[in-house]
């Protein structure tokens, strides 16, 4: 073996060693300071002073609570009521949903980084199952699940400090978890960064999820859960906001030309990842996986099951923008369709039809 081949073989290790030296130097020399190459890994040992308290405004999809104006941490009381009830899954199709707050997806929670959240989880006396909650924003046992098992008619309370900013999924984690999630037990919590989010004109709450029913897609009546389809990861429905037509017709999202739009989009799964796309738009900003880094000029963004994304775009022209999971059979055959209706003046510089089927241009 020649010297050059040895060097070639060990080159990656030499590079790693060099990186390690740099990293050590950064930590030793600068404490927790970052270098160009590395991000700091904070261990949160102190928290902000918490002043006062307020009761969180919670909203049903597609609505989002108002932006936070505070520049300090407070105690935020979140009251979440678990309700099991029959709900509409599609036209003429009903399903017994298990919900956080009476709707699917569950209530949207909005707090500020550093807030002390006191979460009150109540399970309606009419419920047939115990439930709990795992918020992905929580640093603690089971994301809160281990201490929040709540029997019908009962209440549990826990507190947590929202250490990390971002958009997070929450869900029920009571055994059997896949069933609780397949029945609609999920929602999102936004932890606004201390500096807040950029001002926009419209904010929407959209969550994709699957339903597994005994009957085929569109089969009428009250549908039973089909766990076999769940295990096989073959959903009957893949929908936005809890039903096949939640975001169409009267439910369509609305905006005006010139608006800056932000969609808080989550994927509850329970099984599938989402290739989220808006037909006829380009996402100007995508906060990938609901985190802090913005990617720009994105056509389709991948959302993990149990994950989120924040997409932002300006709307330049009137028309119907169509929200889809670009795993397109789902959109066409399983219900993953939504609409954003944009009204306002046309801008022919952005788009103009010149010659179309059956019509003569002027």
């Amino acid at each position: 073996m020649t010297n050059t081949s040895i060097i070639r073989r060990f080159a990656p290790f030499v590079a790693l060693a060099a990186i390690a030296v740099v990293a050590t130097a950064a930590v030793n020399g600068l404490g927790r300071a970052t270098s160009a190459r590395f991000s700091p890994i904070p261990v949160h040992t102190t928290v902000d002073d918490v002043k006062g308290q307020e009761i969180a405004v919670l909203t049903d999809a597609p609505h989002v609570p108002p932006a936070i104006k505070r520049d300090y941490a407070t105690k935020v009381i979140v009251n979440l009521d678990i309700i099991e009830k029959k709900m509409r899954l599609a036209d003429g199709v009903e399903y017994t949903m298990w919900t956080f707050g009476g709707s699917v997806p569950g209530k949207f929670i909005r707090v500020r980084e550093g807030d002390l959240v006191e979460l009150h989880l109540k399970n309606a006396a009419s419920s047939t199952m115990p439930h709990n909650i795992d918020l992905h924003a929580v640093t603690g046992p089971g994301g809160g699940a281990k201490t929040s098992l709540t029997m019908p008619g009962g209440e549990s309370v826990f507190t947590f400090t929202a250490l990390n900013p971002g958009l997070f999924v929450y869900h029920c984690a009571t055994s059997p978890v896949p069933m609780h999630m397949a029945n609609g037990m999920y929602g999102m919590i936004l932890v606004e960064p201390k500096e807040g989010l950029a001002q926009v004109d419209r904010e929407f709450y959209v969550m994709q999820s699957e339903f597994y029913t005994k009957g085929d897609f569109g089969a009428k009546g009250l549908q039973d859960l089909d766990m076999e389809k769940g295990v096989e990861e073959k959903p009957t429905y893949v929908v936005f906001n809890g039903s096949a037509d939640a975001l169409t017709g009267e439910g369509a999202l609305k905006a005006k030309t010139g608006d800056r739009v932000r969609i808080f989009i989550g994927d509850a799964g329970p099984n599938l990842t989402s290739s989220f796309h808006v037909i006829g738009e380009v996402f100007d900003n995508v906060y990938v996986e609901g985190g802090t880094v913005a990617q720009h000029n994105v056509q389709t963004t991948l959302i993990p099951a149990g994950g989120t994304s924040i997409v932002e775009f300006g709307v330049e022209n009137p028309g119907d923008l169509i929200l889809v999971d670009h795993s397109i059979f789902r959109a066409f055959n399983k219900g993953t369709l939504g609409m954003l209706k944009v009204e306002g003046a046309e801008n022919k510089k952005v788009f103009a039809a010149v010659k179309t089927l059956g019509a003569v241009s002027e």
């Binding site: 017994t96 019908p152 008619g153 984690a173 055994s175 059997p176």
Partner: protein, 240 residues
């Protein structure tokens, strides 16, 4: 003596469950089957009418008198008053809103006891045609349907469903049923955490969603807990 006990239970209308074994959700000390001795079991859940008779004779178990360390405030919540258990059709439905303490007192007054979780699971593994349907996908799927539909509307009269091979009815159809022990805690030598996906760890059949639902309910019960969908039936020891 054992024969006499068995005969008495049979004469009182109970079903005799022969000894055998069943496959629990979690292995017990490495064993995939749990042996269960023979016992007697009520053929149907205790009804509101039967429980009404009990509280008539035992005033300390009336809803206005029950001690808070015996049952939580959901005790007999659907009853309009101490002896107002509903109309004739209500009286034929399973009694719910009862705690383990109350169920134990009822069974004890009848010379019976609550079934252990092992006994209950063993008897409940039987379908209409076989003693052990625990791995039968269609059976499990039916049970999940029964459990999920408990939320919708009022309970039905007991004794309407088809009996299982032991002649026992409504083990799954109507209400969750109390057992003498919580089972989930230390059943296999360690507590199974029913609060997250970790519940699948150590499960002999992770796709037995019906069993996960039952175990999750049991994991949340203490001796005072009541639920609108939780009732019970009594058992008796036959000694064989």
């Amino acid at each position: 003596m054992y024969f006499a006990a068995k005969l008495a239970f049979v004469l009182s209308g109970m079903a005799v469950i022969p000894q055998g074994s069943y496959s629990p959700l979690y292995a017990t000390k490495g064993a995939e089957r749990v042996a269960v001795r023979g016992f007697a079991l009520d053929r149907a859940p205790v009804t509101r009418g039967e429980f009404l008779e009990f509280v008539r004779r035992n005033p300390e178990w009336r809803k206005s008198a029950v001690k808070r360390n015996a049952a939580d405030n959901g005790y007999l919540a659907d009853w309009a008053g101490d002896l107002a258990a509903g109309n004739a059709s209500d009286l034929r439905t399973p009694v719910t809103g009862v705690s383990r303490n109350a169920a134990l007192a009822y069974c004890s007054a009848k010379g019976k006891r609550l079934p252990t979780s092992n006994e209950w699971e063993y008897a409940a593994a039987a379908s209409e045609t076989t003693r052990d349907a625990a791995r039968d996908r269609n059976f499990i799927s039916r049970l999940v349907g029964f459990y999920r539909n408990r939320a919708s509307g009022r309970s039905q009269a007991v004794g309407k469903s088809a009996p299982n091979v032991y002649g026992v009815r409504d083990m799954h159809e109507l209400v969750w049923e109390l057992t003498a022990d919580p089972m989930h805690a230390g059943h296999s030598g360690r507590a199974h955490d029913m609060s997250c996906a970790g519940a699948a760890m150590g499960a002999l059949d992770p796709s037995n969603y019906a069993a996960f639902m039952r175990y999750a309910v049991r994991s949340g019960l203490n001796d005072r807990t009541t639920m609108k969908t939780l009732g019970f039936r009594c058992a008796g020891s036959t000694g064989s």
